[in-house]
């Protein structure tokens, strides 16, 4: 399998006055195409910093990061923005949907920055909503949707640009366990379709749904374990989503 993300000796130092904080201290990690990886760690372990670097939101102090074959650790701000738009799809803990804006428009948002025409944007956004089991909710506003549904809208937004990898930062952090399963089912389904998914979490339950767990502590990688993922079967979730998540269980 081809390497999608190759991090080598990544160091990230934050300077606060004359104090130096070594958030990442020489991390090397390779994520292959189609993997479903969980990055775990306690608060302050550096997992969020690692996530930001992998998501091209930030640049490492030293080290090399090849994303889809290209070295991205020295790109300019504008080039990074383009990489984020084309190659990466983000899912956040707090959903970060625009309030008072319909689902379909929220999902279409990244396509604006890709220069896609309005008609095409809406068509692709509707397709992405269908992929996460939210067909028919196109014109609902975030406050008319449940937390799980909102996060699925956010996943659709990450999918709409057809990225190579989905980066999810504590995607179930704001959800109860039932809706967490619902969201994990969607992510597993995407993984089965061949999409690479990397998620950051501090909950072992959530990490169990992935195929590989990477543990970070004090800016270093302490373990990297492949595992057999637990299948997420949402209870009482919309039928479409359940079927999509686990066709064998239907």
């Amino acid at each position: 399998m081809a390497a999608l993300m190759e991090l080598k000796d990544i160091v990230k130092i934050y300077r606060m006055g004359d104090q130096e904080l070594r958030a990442l201290d020489g991390i090397s990690l390779t994520v292959n195409d189609g993997e479903f990886v969980a990055i775990m760690g306690a608060s302050g372990s550096g997992k969020s910093t690692l996530m930001n670097l992998m998501g091209c939101l930030d640049r490492p102090t030293s080290g090399s990061y090849r994303l889809a074959g290209d070295e991205v650790s020295r790109l300019t701000t504008n080039q990074l923005a383009q990489v984020r738009n084309h190659i990466i799809g983000f899912v956040f803990q707090g959903f970060n949907l625009l309030a008072r804006t319909s689902s379909v428009e929220n999902v279409a948002l990244p396509l604006i920055y890709a220069g896609v025409s309005k008609r095409e944007r809406l068509k692709r956004a509707e397709e992405a909503l269908g992929q996460v089991g939210l067909a028919g909710r196109e014109h609902h506003h975030p406050n008319q949707l449940s937390g799980g549904q909102q996060q699925r809208v956010a996943i659709a937004r990450a999918l709409v640009t057809q990225p190579k990898v989905i980066l999810a930062d504590e995607p179930t952090g704001n959800l109860d366990s039932r809706t967490s399963v619902e969201v994990m089912a969607v992510l597993q389904q995407l993984g089965r379709q061949g999409l690479t998914v990397v998620l950051v979490t501090h909950e072992p339950d959530i990490a169990n749904y992935t195929g590989r767990v990477v543990v970070v502590r004090d800016g270093r990688l302490v373990s990297d374990t492949p595992q057999r993922p637990v299948q997420a079967v949402p209870a009482g979730a919309p039928r479409g989503a359940a079927l999509a998540a686990n066709p064998t269980a239907a």
């Binding site: 930001n52 998501g55 939101l57 930030d58 701000t77 504008n78 923005a81 383009q82 984020r84 738009n85 084309h86 983000f90 956040f92 970060n96 625009l98 008072r100 804006t101 948002l109 990244p110 604006i112 920055y113 890709a114 220069g115 025409s117 309005k118 937004r157 640009t161």
Partner: protein, 410 residues
């Protein structure tokens, strides 16, 4: 990214906060409306003053007889005739910038048709008088130099006199009208001029040739003095001051007035009075517009304030937009377009409001107004510039946000 998208994003964002957007633009709306209203009404007032002076006469200088001093007591202007017919001829012949001259002498007299009679002001003038005063004939014709030379008993009559003697709208050309019981032939009826600046009815008059006036109406023989004033028309508006000056020099020489002595005549330069009035209106209009302009500035600061609030409120949104691929320049553009959309919308609403209020005010108070597309275009342009100027700082703040920090913002 296609050209419309930034405006779509901006409009969507502004429409989400309709009340706030409207309140924000209020400063611009009021500023632009005030500028437009002031300029429209000011220009209207200028036009009205010009029309009033044009009806008095074009490029006109009036020479009147001076005061008579008897034992230290000054009489009023023109109480003693001091201007001679030769003075008038000299003004016409010796000052190159003079185009036309005409005497004007007047008296109040009883005039009568076959049926009725009326008291009006009868004036003796040269045919040139009508040209100087831009006064046209409505029917019939003016009298000529030949009529004056032979003191023909012909009259050019104002509409008010005609209406009173012959009935409204009558056209008694060729009929006989008696002035002080002397029969005159009506040869022309003047175009209606209406009230003059002093509120007098300009049309309540009868014009006869100067010589006829003296010999027939006044019943005197020809004298050396003009019992009235001289209207002088200069070749252009700019020439009036030179003509004014040269009349002073000429008449002082002709009347043998020493350097220290008072003049026995008065020269009034109507063009100068008009220019002074016009420039005082201009000053007033400009001042009011400047005050209104300050409101534009304040409106701009209001926009900057709201945009800064908006950037802070939407920090998380900005972080998200950056995370999903918006370049800093695009974020800058978005907020700049929002500010310009706000101010431009305010400008357009202000123009509509300004024109409307100018229209309402002028029709209510009977003022004149002039629509000025140039000023409107300028106002729209200035309000857009205000948006760019005051929107730039908040937009830069937004564009410089760090996406990671912005996403963490609560």
């Amino acid at each position: 990214m296609n050209l419309l998208t930034p405006f779509e994003i901006a409009l969507e964002a502004l429409l989400l906060n309709k009340a706030r957007s409207l309140l924000t633009t209020l400063g611009i709306i009021i500023g632009v409306a005030a500028v437009i209203a002031m300029m429209s009404i000011g220009e209207g007032a200028k036009g009205k003053v010009k029309a009033a002076f044009d009806s008095l006469g074009t490029n006109m200088v009036v020479v009147t007889s001076g005061t008579n001093k008897t034992g230290g007591v000054m009489s009023g202007a023109g109480t003693q005739p001091t201007l001679t017919w030769d003075d008038m001829r000299a003004i016409r012949n010796e000052i190159p910038l003079v185009l036309r001259v005409s005497p004007i002498m007047g008296t109040s007299a009883q005039v009568a048709s076959a049926d009725t009679n009326w008291n009006t002001s009868v004036r003796g003038v040269y045919p040139e008088y009508f040209t100087i005063r831009n006064w046209y004939i409505a029917s019939g014709s003016f009298f000529t130099k030949a009529d004056d030379d032979t003191a023909n008993k012909v009259a050019v009559v104002g509409r008010t006199v005609i209406n009173n003697l012959y009935g409204n709208g009558a056209n008694p050309i060729g009929q006989t009208m008696r002035i002080k019981n002397i029969p005159f032939q009506i040869i022309g009826i003047l175009v209606v001029k209406g009230q003059n600046a002093m509120g007098q009815d300009t049309d309540d008059t009868v014009m006869v040739p100067a010589k006829t006036f003296l010999t027939k109406v006044q019943g005197t023989s020809l004298q050396t003095m003009i019992p009235g004033a001289i209207f002088v028309q200069a070749t252009s508006a700019e020439a009036t001051s030179a003509v004014d000056r040269e009349i002073h020099i000429l008449l002082r020489a002709r009347h043998r007035i020493a350097r220290v002595e008072d003049e026995d005549f008065t020269v009034r330069n109507l063009q100068e009075i008009f220019s002074a009035q016009e420039s005082s209106i201009q000053t007033f209009t400009t001042l009011l517009a400047a005050v209104a302009g300050v409101s534009l500035l304040v409106g701009g600061i209001g926009i900057m304030n709201i945009m800064l609030v908006s950037v802070t409120e939407r920090t998380k949104e900005i972080g998200l937009r950056m995370a999903i691929g918006a370049k800093p320049a695009v974020i800058l553009q978005q907020f700049l377009v929002e500010a310009v959309t706000l101010s431009l919308a305010g400008g357009v609403i202000g123009i509509v409001l300004g024109v409307t209020s100018a229209f309402v005010l002028s029709s209510h108070f009977g003022w004149a107004m002039v629509f000025q597309p140039g000023i409107m275009a300028l106002s729209a342009g200035v309000s857009a510039l205000v948006g760019v100027f005051f929107g730039l700082y908040p937009a830069q703040r937004a564009a410089r946000l760090d996406p990671i920090e912005a996403l963490r913002h609560e």
